[in-house]
Each structure stands twice: as structure tokens, then as C-alpha cells.
């Protein structure tokens, strides 16, 4: 973001480079396993992590984030900033200078026309592009010459690094995709399965949802890289099997997203064939509290909308008691071990934006009981509190996943200790995270009292992430239950402060406002109960060198530096 972090990134990249290059293609084959198989190699049409990361071996953006969240130039000569004049003084345009030496894997040069084309491709309204949001506010792209790209914004943008930075918006080759604009994007099978790229590898054979075979790109910009001549990218199965194939049988070199119980993963590592690596990004597992009444007795237009406030969860004392009763440290230790950290914040990273609150770390059952006593909730003979004939009973839903079910069981017990009765429900992820407005079980509809899931944001700037909790952004019947303000929080002060954030260009001030917004949602109002700051977990074979875990971009961001020890 600033010069210091760029330099830092460069230093780190150097530090991790292998001591001696044997040259391109001298280390044979590298085998990668993703237990979710890639289904397409064009991230503009999918945006699934598996698809973004597999395609990141082939196609590249102008710049990537490194393991610390700092930007590293990939296809450009340097990162444009206000300081070096790359970002205009009014912050309404940013100028990228392409590295003229870079060519596509077919030997033709990379030009600014390719970059402009990629923008046009994604913005075509009939194309169904998944990444249009990355181009929010962009009015157009100018290409004064073959190596200069000027991106213009409608308003001053404190963070102009949305387009073409990070894994979601790589550059497509104009010559290849020219006939795939608009509605035809969906049927360009050959192009979507085998994009021509500038990355270290190129596709030989792609079997969707199964396997990709790749070979080193002869025209890659560094003549000594990649060290591997071929790459096998296998998909499918489950996380346990993927971990086993790297750490116990040694069949594969790299396994992605090993979301396993900590003792299981430790046992695998003890087999001695592989190493577990963890990287922390912005992912936070949280319990969202429904501020509206999900009771099935209400009619469809009122249920779980702001017309009907929740009968008891709209009382901050109840919400605070629910939060106090949870032991996040223990929860995280059991569910994630070294792959998670307990947190009290919605924005748990990057560090500069995070409040790093610690008020919630200590479990306080007695304090929670006190709060509920004071709020007028009387403990009944069956161990459940009541007030005005209302039972303190909640429905707690989440998606189906072994760790989440352990979390549910533990939280249910703790809430039982403060006189809250909990009914658990787990739902298939394809329904829970789907936006089908006719299904009662989506997380947007929130037909339960509390629900648990993980969310994060792209890149390193939380502005749009915090915008989710603005008034009016909640899912409701009028918006076909689409919307991002899941807990239906609404505070004019929050909206005003967020508006200030969008106008502020000074970084220090932005950090401060973001922290303030985070605190309003968490420790001031308890509308959400953050639990765990989740890390990305992967494993690589001990014989594989050069791997650097990255949670801000594709995990395979530096695959060209990988080598065989």
C-alpha cells in the first residue's frame, strides 16, 4: 500500500527464493491436491476459491498481495501510489505501467488492450461476470499506449486497488476471448477450460471437477522458473484424505484447506512426510444475533423483518449474556488449535484495521447470570429462564461441518448454564449459503434466533465489508431476501460514520474509523458474537521448498518459486 510495505514484500520474496536455481523444468513434477475440485479455469465466471486458485497458476493480475497483505507487482513495473504519482492527486485515476518484456504463453506480447478488454468482458451485462464488484466506481479504462493502463473512477477513491489486483481479476488475453463477450461467455468451453496466460504454467488437459495437467510456460518472464516441468492438480474427496496423501503416504506435494480437528492434523504431521502451514487473513467465525422475530406464527411479510423486533434478543442484556457465557479460548483450542485465534472483533485483520479487543476473552457465567437476573429473567424449575410467560429458548443454526457441530454442542452447554434453552439445527451448505428466496433455510432469511458462519473480505480494505451492516441493506421480502445485513442491525450513527469512512483518504484516520465501526457492532451492541479468527491451513511435502502461505491472495501465488529440495 505504501512504499515501505512494497519494499518489505520484495525483501520477503527474495528471502524465500531458493538458494540456487537449477533452471526451468529441472525438478520434474509437482502434485497439488484440492479436495474441492476446480470446475472452470475462468474466475470471472465462478469466483469459487478452488477455481480462482487453480487458474492463478495460469493467468495473473497486474499485482498480487503477499503473505502480509502488501502489494507485489506481477505484470507491472511498480505499484502506483500517490507518492510516486501513479495515483492522481484527486484520487480519481490510477496509472499502471505494464512490464514490456512480458509475453503470453503463446509468444504474443501482453498489451494494455488486453487489460481494457478484460474490463469490457466483465462489465458486459449479459456475461454473468462474478467480479463486477471489483470494478465498482470505474468509469472507464484509457490506453494511451501499448504499455500504459489508466483506470478512471467516478469519485475520489482512497483505495483504487480493486481492479486487477489479487486473484479474482486476472488479465485475459483479448485474442483468445474476443468472441466470448456477453451471453457467449457461458458457452466458450474451450476458452474457459484452457485460458492463455502469463503465469508459470499452461494447461495441457483439463477435466472439470477432476484433474488438471499443466506444463511449464516456455515464455514465462523468469527464464529459470518454474523449477517444475509439469504440474498435476487433482481435486475431489475430503480434507482428511487430502491431508493423508501429503503427510502420511507422500503421494502429493501440496494440500489445500485442511479444516480438520487439531489432534487429527497433528497426528498426520507426526508421520513426518509433510509440514502444516497456517496463514491468517480476515476470516472470522461468528454468531449473528437475529434482531427480528423469526417466529413461524408471523406471516411471511413480517417474519424475520424489521417490522417485528425480536421478543427478547432485542434486549442488549440478553445478547451480552449470551456472549459472556462463551469461552472463546477453549472453543478455538478444541475446534481449530493452532489454525485459529479467539477474537472479539469482526475485523480481525489486517492488524492496522483491527481493534484487537480483548474484553470478551474471559468466560463469565456468573456475570451472565447476573445480567439476566437484572433483566427480569427468572430461572424456572426446569433450568430455563422465563419472563412474562416467555421462555428463554433459542434456535441455533449453522451449516453442516464437524467443527461447527462441536461449536454448537459446546455453546449449547454454556448457554444451558445461564438458563438459556438451545435447539440446534444444521443445514446442508448448498442450501444454507444459497440465495434461493423460496427456501426457508438460507442464512439470509435467518428463520432462527442465532446463526453461525464465517465471512471475510477481499483484499485488505474493510470499507465494503463494514458497509454490509448499513440500515436498509438487510434481506427482506421486497428485495427477494437478498441483502448482506444479516443480523438486521440499524443505527443512524453507524451509517453516518461509515459515510465518513468512504470520504476519508488519510490512512491513519481510516484505520481509526474502521475500528470504531467494528466496536459498534461488537462490544457496544453485541449484535454479533465473534468467536474465532480463522487461518488458512495447508500442508506441503517436506521435499517441497519455497512455499509461502498467503491468506490475502491465492495460496498458490508464488508457485513459480517452488522447487524440489
Amino acid at each position: 500500500m505504501n512504499l515501505k510495505s512494497i519494499l518489505l514484500g520484495a525483501v520477503v520474496a527474495l528471502a524465500f527464493a531458493p538458494a540456487s536455481f537449477a533452471g526451468r523444468g529441472t525438478d520434474g513434477e509437482v502434485k497439488i491436491i484440492y479436495w474441492q475440485a476446480p470446475s472452470i479455469l475462468n474466475p470471472y465466471l465462478s469466483n469459487g476459491t478452488k477455481d480462482i486458485e487453480s487458474s492463478s497458476l495460469i493467468i495473473e493480475p497486474l499485482a498480487r498481495y503477499n503473505q502480509d497483505g502488501a502489494m507485489v507487482p506481477y505484470l507491472v513495473t511498480s505499484i502506483p501510489t500517490l507518492g510516486n504519482g501513479g495515483v492522481s492527486a484527486d484520487q480519481k485515476s490510477i496509472t499502471w505501467n505494464l512490464d514490456p518484456a512480458i509475453v503470453w504463453s503463446d509468444g504474443t506480447p501482453l498489451t494494455s488492450a488486453d487489460v481494457k478488454f478484460t474490463y469490457d468482458y466483465c462489465m458486459d451485462p449479459n456475461g454473468g461476470c462474478a467480479n463486477t464488484v471489483k470494478f465498482n466506481g470505474v468509469t472507464g479504462i484509457d490506453t494511451p499506449d501499448a504499455s500504459t493502463v489508466v483506470i478512471n473512477f467516478a469519485e475520489a477513491s482512497p483505495n483504487p486497488y480493486g481492479p486487477f489486483v489479487g486473484g479474482q481479476t486476472p488479465i485475459l488475453q483479448k485474442a483468445q476471448f474476443a468472441d466470448c463477450m456477453g451471453a457467449k461467455a457461458q458457452t466458450c468451453t474451450a476458452e474457459n477450460f484452457g485460458p492463455v496466460g502469463t503465469g508459470p504454467f499452461k494447461v495441457v488437459d483439463f477435466k472439470p471437477n477432476d484433474v488438471i495437467r499443466m506444463v511449464a510456460n516456455d515464455n514465462y518472464r523468469d527464464p529459470n522458473k518454474p523449477a517444475f516441468a509439469t504440474l498435476l492438480f487433482k481435486g475431489g474427496g475430503d480434507a482428511t484424505g487430502a491431508g493423508r496423501s501429503v503427510m502420511e503416504t507422500g503421494e502429493f506435494d501440496y494440500a489445500w484447506n485442511l479444516q480438520l480437528a487439531p489432534d487429527v492434523i497433528a497426528k498426520m504431521e507426526s508421520a513426518g512426510k509433510g509440514t502444516v502451514i497456517v496463514g491468517f487473513g480476515p476470516s472470522v467465525e461468528r454468531i449473528e444475533i437475529n434482531m427480528t422475530d423469526p417466529s413461524p406464527s408471523l406471516d411471511a411479510d413480517t417474519r424475520a423483518t424489521r417490522k417485528a423486533p425480536h421478543p427478547f434478543l432485542s434486549d442488549i442484556r440478553v445478547r451480552k449474556a449470551l456472549s459472556l457465557a462463551i469461552d472463546r479460548v477453549l472453543l478455538t483450542e478444541i475446534g481449530y488449535g493452532q489454525m485459529g485465534k479467539p477474537t472479539c472483533d469482526l475485523v480481525a485483520g489486517p492488524a492496522v484495521y483491527s481493534s484487537q479487543n480483548t474484553h470478551c476473552m474471559k468466560q463469565d457465567i456468573a456475570g451472565a447470570n447476573n445480567l439476566l437476573d437484572n433483566a427480569g429473567w427468572v430461572m424456572g424449575s426446569d433450568g430455563v429462564r422465563t419472563k412474562d410467560g416467555m421462555r428463554l429458548s433459542v434456535l441455533y443454526q449453522t451449516s453442516t461441518n464437524a467443527v461447527r457441530q462441536d461449536y454448537q454442542a459446546l455453546v449449547k452447554q454454556w448457554w444451558g448454564e445461564i438458563g438459556v434453552e438451545t435447539e440446534l439445527r444444521n443445514l446442508s451448505a448448498s442450501i444454507f449459503f444459497g440465495g434461493d428466496p423460496s427456501s426457508p433455510d438460507t442464512f439470509q432469511k435467518f428463520y432462527s434466533d442465532v446463526e453461525m458462519y464465517t465471512n471475510n473480505f477481499d483484499g485488505t480494505d474493510p470499507q465494503s465489508y463494514l458497509a454490509m451492516y448499513l440500515c436498509g441493506n438487510e434481506p427482506k421480502p421486497e428485495s427477494q431476501w437478498q441483502g448482506e445485513n444479516i443480523n438486521r442491525y440499524c443505527d443512524i450513527a453507524y451509517d453516518a460514520l461509515h459515510a465518513e469512512l468512504t470520504r476519508t483518504g488519510d490512512m491513519e484516520k481510516r484505520y481509526e474509523i474502521a475500528k470504531r465501526l467494528n466496536d459498534m457492532l461488537t462490544k457496544d451492541s453485541y449484535t454479533m458474537i465473534p468467536l474465532t479468527h480463522r487461518g488458512g491451513v495447508a500442508a506441503h511435502a517436506k521435499s517441497l521448498g519455497g512455499v509461502v502461505m498467503n491468506s490475502w491472495d491465492s495460496e498458490l501465488w508464488n508457485v513459480s518459486d517452488w522447487y524440489r529440495k
Partner: protein, 335 residues
């Protein structure tokens, strides 16, 4: 028999159309959203755009009609083009999978080899083992062989593949290191070494699947043999002085095969349907894995097409079973 077969073949058409409609409606009405796998960071308006791009904005009956036309009219044309080099299907829209934006039939063709190899082989192995076990167990009812066979097959049946698969992986790949735990679908059998590799990677999934088939079939075979061994005609045959082997292997076996043939014929479509859990465990990535990932991603065109192809196979094999009844037992008349 011939007129019966022809009649049944004609009835097949409305049956299949009805089945296709039911499958379509079922999938339309079941909850699930193709955008569920897209990260939560993508805003709802963009997801709505993507849904429209997939054709989800059109009314249901139009989508059904399109699918039927594509399946029955366009895909056969593609097949003809492929074999004869003609160009009937050029420029026409095929059934496109939502996940991959590639033609569904290409995916099926890609997946068939490993499914037929692994699941088909396990089926053959299972049948070949099960029939003799069933016959001998029944002939020597309550012998040690029978008791052991019963014991092993029932345990085999009550252990689900998500467990037995992991168990054999832990024993044979992790501890002993004999076989690979991950099936390599890119392996081309073009030399003796590769053939050995292919055998090695097939042996564990085939074992796990064959255990289930064997357990089930040997039970049915045994029960059916037992029924027939006590029939009057067996006594008559023995009284006539026929050899024991002729009595059992010709007279009894032929009559016992009727229920067993049903079970075997009903199982054949599942060879092409793949084995969902076992394929997942060993990463065979065949049809079964294709179907389960499609269901999880609510990839409706893919699920519809796969289940409908499966339905066609089921209808055909049920017909085959019915015809076989008539051949095995001339007394059975269909009219």
C-alpha cells in the same frame, strides 16, 4: 415373448417422458441455489446477474421444453457428427453444466471410463464370488462354511463404505504402502507397467465395493436355493436317478435364479451410476462423484441429465430382467 418385448419397448417412451417430467419438477422444487458456492463477499445483485446468465430467469415450462429438445434431439446429433464427421449440430446450444459451462455429455464421456472400470469390475467380482458362495451355503445349510459365509457377508454389509474405505487406505496405503490412496484418472494403460499401476489403484475401491455386492447377492442366492432344494421336483429328479450335480446345478439353480436375476439386473444401472461414497473416498472421480458434486452445487442441468440417463438404464434393465424371467421359467406368461 417377442410381442411382449415390443409392447414394452413402446410403453417405454411415455414412461420415460413422465419420468423426465417428474425428475425435472422434483429438482426445480427442491431447495438449493447454484450460487451457494460463490463466496459471501460477492454481493447479491451480482449473484442475481449470474443466475440470469444461466437462464434461470425463464419460466419453468420453457426450460423443461428446451432441456427435452436438447437431450432427445441435439445430443444425438452431436453423437452422429462425432462418428460420421457431419455437421448437424453446429452452432446449436447443447445441455450446458452450470458449474463448468461445458457440455454435460462431454463430462459424462470423460467420467465413464473410470466408473465402468472400477464399479463394473467390482460388480463382476462381486457376482462371481457371491453365486458360488450362495449356492454352496444353501446346499450345506448350517455347515461351518455356511455360518462363516453368513457372518462375514453380514458384517461386510453392515459396515458402510465411508468407514471400510478409510480402513483399507489406512492399512494398505498408509501403513503398508502397497497401493496408492488416490486414483489417477490421467493414467493411460499403454504398457505393462501402467497396467500394473492401474491394477494397483483399482484394487482397493474394487474390494470395498465388491464386499457390498457379494454380501447382498449371496444372501439372495442362498435364500432362493433353499426354497427350491425342498421342492417336489427335486425329489423327483433324485428319484429318477439323476446325479447330484445335475440336480443342483441344472434343476435347482435354474429355478433359483429368478429372484437373483432381478437383483443382478437391477444392480447393473448402478454400475453406470457410480458409487458416490466409494468414489469420493478413493477420488476415482467417476459418475457418482460427478453427480454428488452437481447436487451439492445445485447444477440442475447436470443432475437432470445424469438422473435421466440413469432412469433410461433402469427401465431398460428392468425390461431385460422381465424377458429373462420368461426364458428361465417358461411358465411365466405376460398377457
Amino acid at each position: 415373448m417377442l410381442s411382449f418385448t415390443i409392447r414394452r419397448l413402446i410403453i417405454m417412451i411415455p414412461t420415460l417422458l413422465l419420468i423426465s417430467l417428474v425428475i425435472f419438477l422434483l429438482l426445480e422444487l427442491a431447495p438449493g441455489d447454484p450460487m451457494a458456492q460463490i463466496p459471501l463477499t460477492v454481493p447479491p445483485e451480482v449473484k442475481q446477474q449470474m443466475r440470469l446468465a444461466l437462464g434461470l430467469g425463464e419460466p419453468m415450462h420453457i426450460r423443461y421444453w428446451k432441456w427435452i429438445v436438447q437431450f432427445f434431439w441435439l445430443e444425438p446429433q452431436v453423437l452422429i457428427d462425432y462418428y460420421f464427421g457431419s455437421s448437424f449440430s453446429e452452432g446449436k446450444l447443447r445441455v450446458i453444466s452450470w458449474q463448468t459451462r461445458g457440455p454435460v455429455m462431454d463430462l459424462v464421456v470423460q467420467r465413464l471410463p473410470q466408473t465402468v472400470w472400477v464399479v463394473g469390475m467390482s460388480y463382476i467380482v462381486g457376482v462371481v464370488i457371491a453365486l458360488p458362495i450362495g449356492i454352496y451355503s444353501a446346499y450345506k445349510q448350517y455347515s461351518i462354511f455356511d455360518q462363516t459365509g453368513t457372518f462375514i457377508s453380514m458384517i461386510g454389509y453392515s459396515v458402510p463404505p465411508f468407514f471400510s474405505g478409510v480402513l483399507v487406505i489406512v492399512i494398505f496405503s498408509v501403513t503398508l504402502g502397497w497401493f496408492p490412496s488416490i486414483y489417477d484418472t490421467t493414467l493411460v494403460v499403454d504398457s505393462w507397467d501402467n497396467f500394473v499401476l492401474q491394477l494397483k489403484q483399482m484394487i482397493m475401491p474394487v474390494m470395498v465395493l465388491a464386499l457390498q455386492t457379494t454380501a447382498q447377492l449371496s444372501r439372495f442366492m442362498r435364500a432362493s436355493m433353499l426354497d427350491n432344494l425342498n421342492q417336489d421336483y427335486v425329489r423327483t429328479a433324485r428319484a429318477k436317478g439323476l446325479g447330484e450335480s445335475v440336480v443342483v446345478m441344472v434343476h435347482v439353480l435354474r429355478n433359483s435364479m429368478i429372484p437373483v436375476v432381478t437383483v443382478i439386473a437391477l444392480g447393473v444401472p448402478s454400475v453406470f451410476g457410480g458409487a458416490i461414497i466409494t468414489e469420493q473416498v478413493f477420488r476415482v472421480n467417476g459418475i457418482g462423484q460427478l453427480l454428488i458434486t452437481a447436487i451439492q452445487a445445485t447444477d440442475l442441468p447436470l443432475v437432470q441429465t445424469l438422473t435421466f440417463m440413469f432412469a433410461i438404464l433402469i427401465v431398460i434393465f428392468n425390461l431385460i430382467a422381465d424377458v429373462l424371467y420368461g426364458i428361465l421359467d417358461p411358465r411365466i406368461r405376460y398377457d
